[in-house]
Symmetry: C3
Subunit: 127 residues, 3 copies
Amino acid sequence: MPFVQITLTKGKPPKTISTIVDSVHKALVEEFKIPELDKFQIVQEVEANNLIFPPNYLGVPHSENIVYIHITAKKGRTVEMKKQLYKKIAMLISEKTSISSDDVFIVLSENKEENWSFGRGQAQLVE
Amino acid sequence: MPFVQITLTKGKPPKTISTIVDSVHKALVEEFKIPELDKFQIVQEVEANNLIFPPNYLGVPHSENIVYIHITAKKGRTVEMKKQLYKKIAMLISEKTSISSDDVFIVLSENKEENWSFGRGQAQLVE
Amino acid sequence: MPFVQITLTKGKPPKTISTIVDSVHKALVEEFKIPELDKFQIVQEVEANNLIFPPNYLGVPHSENIVYIHITAKKGRTVEMKKQLYKKIAMLISEKTSISSDDVFIVLSENKEENWSFGRGQAQLVE
């Protein structure tokens, strides 16, 4: 059920992109307890000058490697679960790619169970 | 007022894309009762490997034809209206294109009336 | 903390794009009182036929110059602050580019403080 949009600059190796995708998914499975098959994501590659970020903010430096991860999920997760999610995503990406955890930007948007259709015109979470 | 972002793989015929756009709009007009002219959408075409989906989830199989439809609308619609919307979108797309209703993925994000400006710097829904 | 996605047709001069980016940021700094360094944005350029808009809506005409500005921010701003934000964004863009204020479309999505990570795996707004 989460729907994830990942945005980064064009030109990253396919292996790096798939590692980011899999890292976000693994973290969602482990921390938000979603099913393994619940993996719906979009990767948006943009020109470097179309990715705007500050040199640093709140003590965290940023580079052109910045990755924007926008997760939409139904509400209900605790603050603690969200904190663990961010930690896990940043850890997995920085361990398995050359991207620093400083460059992992995450924003979470929440909605209702009735706001999802996984195909076939059904609202599976409320049927 | 709904703002719709449709994401699919590059290479679909323009006719298929415009049919998807018009199907989503027609369903919104009929089920969410929006005005005919209230048609604001973006189509995002991405490389096939940048569209991530599972082979199946909740009993629904998915293919590389999957279409992600992200609708942002002001809150206030009932669960029943949302169910009818999903049904209508999936039906119209599968009837008029070669895309299966299984591959119509919809997520709805809701916000407040005051959160919209349709141009001219005004917040039209609260003025 | 706001995260901004700007969508417009391909082919606009880089100067126009950077002016739009800076106008949105300046308006957020002045009206939403965000820090100068809190500047996180994505610019998405799409083919002209992938930007769908009506010839006019609610008395405002639109052209192929339309710019979709989707702002995600933590909740808490008043209706008055939002109105001032829209006004300022439209004014700055129309003053400094050839884009009419009629073509400045803005939608705001709001979430919680705990829904943000600015890097390093931390939830900076609740730590």
